[in-house]
């Protein structure tokens, strides 16, 4: 290599490094600007997700427990949603193969590993159903936030701090990286630069020992053709029905007053599904 060519190459490398540094400086926003940009991106994603009535996505979920005995658990989940009251999913991973259907009235869950199924009542709308899944059936669904009619409101609270961080590549997609802190969890979301739809989501559970986290990678969000049959439970022949257990309902301490006259009389506090 001639000295002149060598100098040219060195000059090129220096230019690239300087340009890269300059680019990074451009990305670094002050906290107020980062918060505003993140908020705008999150609202755009929320608007986009709320606008689509029927959609489906496939995600890879990785639950990590640093230093824990359970290590990492993986699951691939396919979810189909039809607003306002239908959802179907399948899951396959370290915890076996599962399927579930919500039709506005009931939740049906199937465990193919155990060849069993269960069914329980559900509220009439998807928003209520997502809360009910967690509050009553104790089902953890890391992607639930983006399924609400307002994902922004599911994510954000008054005590949430954070904003836009940078632009990153998730697979072959360019995605805007947002990071937020809340008292209970820290969470990051990557939104596709071109469509403002979720590329990836990470939730770190700060109040659980070991501070585990869940990383969800989206493989595109599509608009499939669905029918009512998509959301009808499909329980294979020979599977046994088992009970579905609901969590105890927390009752307001104000209700913890002297016992009613009749022990049989229902008291308020227990959630009822009509």
């Amino acid at each position: 290599m001639s000295p002149r060519l060598q100098h040219t190459l060195q000059l090129f490398i220096v230019v690239v490094v300087i340009a890269g540094a300059a680019c990074n400086r451009q990305q670094a926003l002050n906290p107020e600007a980062a918060s505003a940009k993140g908020d705008a991106l999150l609202r755009e994603m929320s608007k986009n997700m709320a606008a689509v009535q029927t959609f489906a996505y496939t995600v890879d979920e990785r639950r990590q427990i640093p230093g824990g005995t359970q290590g990492e658990k993986k699951m691939t989940r396919q979810v189909t949603v039809r607003r306002p009251n239908a959802l179907a999913f399948t899951g396959k991973g370290d915890r076996g193969e599962t399927a579930g259907w919500y039709d506005g009235k009931q939740l049906t869950l199937v465990s193919h590993r155990d060849k069993v199924w269960a069914r329980g009542p559900m509220p009439p709308t998807l928003d209520e159903a997502l809360d009910f899944l967690s509050d009553e059936y104790d089902v953890e669904m890391p992607t639930a936030d983006v399924l609400y009619s307002s994902p922004y409101d599911a994510f954000m609270t008054k005590d949430t701090t954070g904003g836009w961080v940078d632009t990153q590549k998730i697979g072959d997609r360019s995605c805007e990286h947002l990071a937020y802190r809340q008292p209970v969890v820290d969470w990051e979301i990557w939104l596709s630069t071109d469509r403002s739809l979720p590329c990836q989501l990470k939730v770190t559970y700060k109040q659980i020992p070991g501070t585990p986290s869940t990383l969800v990678t989206y493989h595109g969000i599509e608009n499939p053709q669905v029918t009512d049959d998509t959301f009808k439970p499909k329980v294979p022949d020979g599977y046994h029905r088992i009970k579905i257990i609901r969590r105890a309902t927390v009752i307001d301490p104000k209700l913890d007053e002297p016992a009613p006259a009749s022990a049989d009389a229902p008291t308020p506090g227990g959630k009822q599904i009509k």
Binding site: R63, G120, S134, D138, D145, V203, I242
Partner: protein, 271 residues
């Protein structure tokens, strides 16, 4: 498949050789259930779910976690024989046996957390969603209208542990293992030494004197400790059983469970 009607409450009346012979067996099963103070939650929920779980389920923000577990089985067996005669009528009452089985599992979980207080009772619903609340515990009216658990619904009455060994460790530290695993406790997987037993067409897992049924909890198949299912036959009695006689039947009493010797092992019987 799951017929709890015969287990939640039972009233049996039989007439045999003698008129007036009444054998009344009533089983009163009172379950005091609890909120779930300790959870299987190991992370995995959404942002909103996590906030909700933290505010509703007691994240133990103040680091005060007080648990007392009392499992107190009370059994009174009263055998009364009354013979009343006069010139015209002969009434012979034999074997007026009242067996009162009171199983009280009192587990009080107090989680001190800003804005959250536990309550000595918890409520869930059967499949039809009917709920009734007893002050001292959960009373769920299920699909068939019986007090106890619904046909397919269930009452959360215990905590969830990853394994039997995990329960042993936790129980040993917290409350002592002597009482055995409490009814309602749930395990993510059955004990390693468990075997499958069948009652009324339903499969149960059995290990060390405890019976487990499969339930769906948290979206996953979980194993929940239940009362010994009548009719189940095990090959070997658990440790700590005593021989006794109830209603003239020689049985082995193991905790709250009675076993009758049969040709192929020991059969769970309910009086």
């Amino acid at each position: 498949m799951f017929n709890h009607a015969t287990r939640g409450g039972r009233f049996v009346r039989r007439s045999r050789a003698f008129r007036g012979v009444a054998v009344t067996v009533s089983v009163l099963l009172a379950l005091s259930t609890v909120e779930l103070g300790a959870q299987r939650k190991s992370g995995g929920g959404s942002v909103k779910q996590s906030r909700s779980a933290s505010s509703n389920a007691g994240a133990n923000k103040s680091n005060n976690y007080n648990r007392s577990t009392n499992a107190t089985p009370n059994r009174n067996t009263n055998a009364n024989t009354n013979v009343n005669r006069n010139n015209n009528n002969t009434n012979v009452n034999v074997n007026n046996v009242n067996v009162n089985r009171n199983t009280n599992v009192n587990r009080n979980t107090n989680v001190n957390n800003a804005g959250y207080y536990g309550r000595p009772g918890a409520v869930v619903a059967g499949e039809e969603g009917a709920v009734a609340v007893g002050r001292r515990g959960a009373v769920a009216v299920g699909e068939e209208g019986f007090v106890g658990v619904g046909r397919y619904g269930g009452v959360v009455s215990g905590e969830v542990y990853d394994s039997y060994e995990g329960w042993k460790v936790a129980a040993g530290v917290a409350v002592g293992v002597a009482g055995g695993i409490a009814i309602g406790t749930m395990l993510a997987r059955p004990p390693a030494a468990s075997v499958t037993v069948v009652s009324s067409g339903t499969n149960y897992m059995y290990a060390e004197g405890a019976y487990y049924e499969q339930v769906m909890y948290g979206g996953e198949v979980t194993y929940r400790v239940v009362e010994a299912p009548p009719g189940v036959i095990i090959t070997t009695l658990p440790s700590g059983c005593n021989s006794t006689t109830v209603s003239g039947v020689a049985v082995s009493q193991c905790g709250n469970t009675y076993y009758q010797r049969v040709s192929n092992g020991y059969k769970v019987v309910v009086f």
